[in-house]
C-alpha cells in the first residue's frame, strides 16, 4: 500500500436517515499539491464526499486517512483542513479583517502576527484595500475572495471548495477559475473542488473524479477523461459523445474493428483488450471524429441529416442512420463544401486517425 497519498478515503459509505445513500464505498487517494475536482450531477454524492473530508459528515462505514493518520472520527475543528463554502459563509457581524483572522485568533496566534498574516492573505486574493470593509459592502466576487483568504490563512493541509464559483456570473467565473489555479500553484496547496460544471473541472483540475449515484465512475486527468472516458455515464457527462452499439468484427494488428450498423469504426487496442468475434460493445466517438462525406466510400455509412445547428467554428449536424441510430457530427464550417441541407443523405465515416473508445455500462 503506497503511503504517499495526502488524503485517502477507504471504502467510505454514507447512508442518510431514510435510507438515502450519499456515498457508496468510495475509495480515493488525493496526492500532495494537486488540484482535484469532484464532478457530477446534483445528488451524485460529490458534496457529501467533501463534507466527509471536512468532518461535517461521519462516514457510516470506511476510513478517512490524512497523511497516514486516521481522522475518521475527528470533528471539523480538529482537522487541519479548511472549507470555502458555496454561500461563502462570511460572518456578517465581523469586518473583512475579523473574518480572515477568525481562524488565527482561535489558534492563539499573537495579534501582531495575525495582522501580518491577514494582510498577506488579503493581498494574495487582491483585496488588500478592503481590510476594514464590512461584509455587506462587498460584491459577490469580493466575498468569494474573502472566503478564500479566510481559509488559506489557516494553512490547511487541504483546501476544500464547495461549488465556489457557482454564484458568480459567467465572466467573473472564468476569471476566478484562473485565479484559483494561480493561487493553488503559487501556494503549492492541495485543492479539492466540488463542481457540477464540466468545463470548469476540465479547465483547472489536475485530476477529475467523476461521481454518479454515490459512486466514483472514473478518476483521470482532464485530457484522459475527454479522450478515454471509461463508462457510458462519463462519456455522456463530459462533452458530447455518440454512444453506438457496435459488433466486434476483427483485429488488425493493434486495431480493433467494429461495425455499428453499416458504420465501420476502429480503435487502437489496449494491450489487454480482449474481444471475441460478434461481441457487442458500446463505442463512444466524439462528434468531431465523425466526417460527413458527400460521396459514398469504402468505409462510410449513409445517414439522413435531421438538423443543423450553428456552433461557431463548427456546424453540428444531427443525423440518423438507416438502422435508426442517432449521430451527432461536427463539421468544420469552411469544409462544408458543398453545403449540406436538412434532409440530405450524407455518408458518414470515422475521421482518419481519430480513435474511439469502448465504454463500460
Amino acid at each position: 500500500m503506497p503511503q504517499d497519498a495526502l488524503l485517502r478515503l477507504e471504502a467510505v459509505s454514507k447512508c442518510f436517515p431514510g435510507g438515502v445513500v450519499g456515498l457508496d464505498s468510495v475509495d480515493l487517494d488525493i496526492e500532495h499539491g494537486e488540484f482535484l475536482s469532484l464532478l457530477g450531477p446534483s445528488g451524485c454524492g460529490k458534496t457529501t464526499n467533501l463534507r466527509v473530508m471536512a468532518g461535517f459528515e461521519t462516514p457510516t462505514t470506511g476510513r478517512v486517512v490524512l497523511a497516514g493518520r486516521d481522522i475518521t472520527s475527528l470533528r471539523p475543528f480538529d482537522r487541519p483542513v479548511n472549507t470555502v463554502f458555496q454561500d461563502y459563509a462570511l460572518f456578517p457581524h465581523m469586518n473583512v479583517a475579523e473574518n480572515v483572522g477568525f481562524g488565527l485568533s482561535l489558534r492563539r496566534v499573537p495579534a501582531a502576527e495575525q495582522k501580518k498574516q491577514v494582510a498577506a492573505a488579503l493581498d494574495m486574493v487582491g483585496l488588500g484595500d478592503k481590510i476594514r470593509a464590512r461584509v455587506a459592502e462587498l460584491s459577490g466576487g469580493q466575498r468569494q475572495r474573502v472566503a478564500l483568504a479566510r481559509a488559506i490563512v489557516c494553512k490547511p493541509r487541504i483546501l476544500l471548495l464547495d461549488e465556489p464559483l457557482s454564484a458568480l456570473d459567467a465572466h467573473l467565473r472564468e476569471y476566478m477559475q484562473m485565479e484559483l489555479k494561480r493561487l493553488q500553484s503559487s501556494l503549492g496547496m492541495t485543492f479539492v473542488m466540488v463542481t457540477h460544471d464540466q468545463t470548469e473541472a476540465l479547465s483547472i483540475s489536475d485530476r477529475i473524479v467523476v461521481m454518479n449515484k454515490g459512486r466514483i465512475e472514473q478518476i483521470a486527468s482532464p485530457a484522459a477523461l475527454y479522450d478515454r472516458p471509461a463508462t457510458r455515464f462519463v462519456a455522456g457527462f463530459i462533452g458530447t459523445m455518440n454512444l453506438l452499439d457496435a459488433r466486434f468484427v476483427g483485429r488488425d494488428g493493434a486495431l480493433l474493428r467494429y461495425l455499428s450498423g453499416d458504420l465501420p469504426l476502429e480503435l487502437s487496442a489496449d494491450a489487454n483488450a480482449l474481444a471475441t468475434d460478434g461481441q457487442m460493445h458500446t463505442i463512444g466517438i466524439r462528434p468531431e471524429d465523425l466526417v460527413a462525406n458527400p460521396q459514398a466510400g469504402a468505409a462510410t455509412a449513409p445517414a439522413k441529416i435531421n438538423s443543423i445547428v450553428f456552433h461557431g467554428r463548427a456546424l453540428r449536424m444531427h443525423a440518423s442512420t438507416a438502422g435508426g441510430a442517432a449521430l451527432v457530427i461536427d463539421a468544420p464550417r469552411q469544409a462544408m463544401q458543398p453545403a449540406f441541407d436538412v434532409g440530405d443523405i450524407v455518408h458518414v465515416s470515422q475521421r482518419p486517425g481519430a480513435s474511439c473508445v469502448i465504454l463500460a455500462a
Binding site: F77, N82, F85, F91, P92, H93, G103, L106, V135, A136
Partner: protein
Amino acid sequence: MMAPGTAITFLLILFSLALVVFLAFRVNDGSLLGAGFTLGNFSNVIFDPLNWSVMLRSLAIAGCVTAATVITAFPVAYFLAFHAGRRRGLILFLVTLPFWTSYLLRVFAWKIVLAYNGVLNSALVGSGLLSEPTLAFLNTPTAVVVTLAHAYAPFAILPIYVALDTIPRSLIEAAADLGARPWTTFRRVILPNAMPGVMAAALVVFVPTVGDYVTPALVGGPSSTMIGSMIQAQFGKANDWPFGAALSAAVMLVILTVVLIVRTTDARFGSRA
C-alpha cells in the same frame, strides 16, 4: 392604500397620545378636559419623591422580569431552532398555548401556586423541606417577577427563535471548520447574530412590564406597587386625570430614554447584513 393605515395611526395612536399630553398640562377642575394651562402637574411628578421611588422600583422590577424572561427564553428558543426537529411545530404550539387563557386567569393561577396554603407551600411541606407553610412567596416583588416572566415568555421566545433560526447553518459550520469548538462558536458566531432577536425580545418584555399594574396588584403586595398602579389610581379613585396624564407622559419619556440607550448599545454589537 396608505389611507386606512394613516387614519388608524392618527385616530387611535397619535390623537390619543396628544390627548394625554394635552391633559397633562391642564388644571384639574373635575371636568373632563380640565381648565387652563399649568406646569404644576409635572412639578408634582418631579418633586414628589414617592414618584421617583415607585418609578425606580418599576424599572428595577421590569429589568428583572426582562432579564429573567430573556435568560429562560433563550434555551427554549435555541432548542426550537437547533434541536427540535420534527417536533418544532408542536413545541411552538405549546409555547403559545397559555395565550388561550386570559391573562388574569394566568395571574390567578400563580396566586394559587404561591399562596400560603398554595401548591408550592403544600409541596414543600409535604416533602418535608419546610415544617410549615411560608408567606415568603406571595405578595413579594419576586412573585411579580415570576408571574410576569411567565406571562411574557412567548413574547421573548418567538423573536429569539426567529433570530436563531435565520442564522445560516453554513456560518456555524464555517466556525467549526476554522477551528472553533461548540462553545466558542456559540459565543463568537451564534450569540452575536442572535443579538437583534434578543434585543427585540428584551424591548417587547420591558416596555409593557414597566407600566403593568394588574400583576403587582394581585400578587405583589404593598412593597411592589409599580408606576402603573399609581397612574390607574389617578384616573380612578383620586380622579385627577391631568396628574395621571403627566405621570403617564413622564413614564413614556423614561421608557423612551431606556429604549434609545439599548438601541445604541445594540448598534455597537452590529446587526446582520
